[in-house]
Amino acid sequence: MNQRLIAFGDSSTRGEGLADVWVPHMKETVYTEKRRFSKLAWPSLVANKLGLKCVNLGSGGASNREIAVNIMNFKFLPTDIVCVLWTFPERDYIYKHPLKVRRNRGSYKEAGLKMSPKQADRMGYGSYYKDWVIPEDRDLDTVMFMNFARAYVLDRAQIYAAYTYVDLITEEFSLPDHTQLIKPDWPNIVDQANPYDYHPGMRTHDLWTKEFIRQIKRAQKKKS
């Protein structure tokens, strides 16, 4: 059986907007049963370069909490190589929100409510960001999830490689040593997926691929 590369992240990990999942006449990304993620996105590129089977569990709109929940819901094999591309710290997620319990793909069955400040008022949870959280609180959560994910994965799988493509919101916290800002990060992505979609394009995915491969090889060298 091929060794697996398991990738976690948001729509940028799933490859939203890239050519093989973009439907031009609809001007949107469409995933199908046969094409659940883009094969042009960084997880597939990393897997191809290293001769691994790619399992891409990127999820559109995912927050760092959702990524951490997805990681803890996954059954790892001891030979797995796990890559995580963390996302916007201000996003949030309510596990098994009563309105969102449904069958979902992959190894997780209960969906959660994805939350972001941009959509808060429109989606009816504006009070969450106004009344109950401050940026430092989101940063604290993000750093905790990053530490949790690494410890959890290394207890179960072979290699853990992680970056974030969005920096923390405040200066009160700093990213852990094991999870640094990838180059290029969000404000500096070198290209867009297509003229209608702001997601990272192929050149950005190529650069991310190189970063992940570098980290994986470093981890493999340390292990041996």
């Binding site: 530490n147 949790f148 410890a151």
Partner: protein
């Protein structure tokens, strides 16, 4: 009435600064809430709460990081924020999952100077909101769908796992118990995947809870002595200290 715990803490700090330590984390049951006063506003963890008594027994310094109303996420944040030494022994009495903790005023925490003669470091609890199910904020948050039992259980599970792995990484000995479920949540089912089978409920809790503190709710002096005896027994049984 509030001077007494601070004075005891000062004595403990001056006498035991370089000694080995017991680090305790939890909620009001660990804090010694209302042992010395009816005033519910927390001032300092009581040295006569069970962590202080356990530390006295083993001739160690007690560092009590607990806070009334805290939840597992707070406990995890406290532990990750703490500068451990290699011979620390960590005791955790995990709070009920039906709590929420949010940082609401980071600058209040950072800027307020708590490095006085009684406290060593600024307390993470300053500039925070601690919600329990009796709080209107908690009830409002719950009604708006911002959480549910599964979500709270998920939060607690992640916090407990993180702490377990963090302390294992540091090579520290740890003894953990859960506060037993309250009456109000005995009928709530925690999803199987969030069961933390390495942590049990504190044994014989109700038998040991023989008296109340000054608020008529929290454990009193005798109850804390009983809890301390139980912790000491477990620590010795696990061969952590003699």
């Amino acid at each position: 009435m509030t001077i007494l715990p601070a004075l005891c803490q000062k004595i403990q700090t001056e006498l035991f600064t370089d000694m080995s330590r017991i680090i305790a984390v939890g909620c009001s049951f660990t804090y010694g809430h209302c042992l010395h006063t009816e005033d519910v506003r927390p001032v300092a963890a009581s040295p006569q709460a069970w962590p202080g008594l356990v530390a006295q027994h083993f001739n160690r310094e007690c560092v009590n990081l607990s806070w009334p109303g805290s939840n597992p996420r707070y406990c995890a944040a406290r532990i990750l924020d703490f500068d451990f030494k290699s011979d620390d022994v960590v005791l955790i009495l995990w709070p009920n999952i039906h709590r929420n903790w949010i940082v609401t005023d980071w600058h209040a925490w950072r800027e307020r100077n708590w490095r006085d003669e009684f406290h060593r470091e600024p307390d993470l609890a300053v500039g925070s909101q601690f919600w329990t199910p009796v709080c209107k904020d908690y009830q409002r948050w719950w009604k708006r769908g911002y959480s549910n039992t599964s979500d709270r259980a998920c939060d607690a599970w992640m916090a407990k796992h993180l702490v377990r792995l963090h302390l294992k990484d540091l090579g520290l000995d740890c003894v953990e118990y859960d506060v037993p479920a309250y009456d109000l949540d005995k009928n709530i089912n925690i999803p199987d995947r969030f069961v933390t089978d390495w942590i049990t409920e504190f044994p014989h809790w109700h038998t040991l809870y023989v008296d109340r503190a000054q608020d008529g709710m929290h454990p009193g002096f005798k109850a804390h002595k009983n809890f301390a005896k139980r912790w000491i027994k477990t620590i010795k049984q696990q061969g952590i200290l003699e």
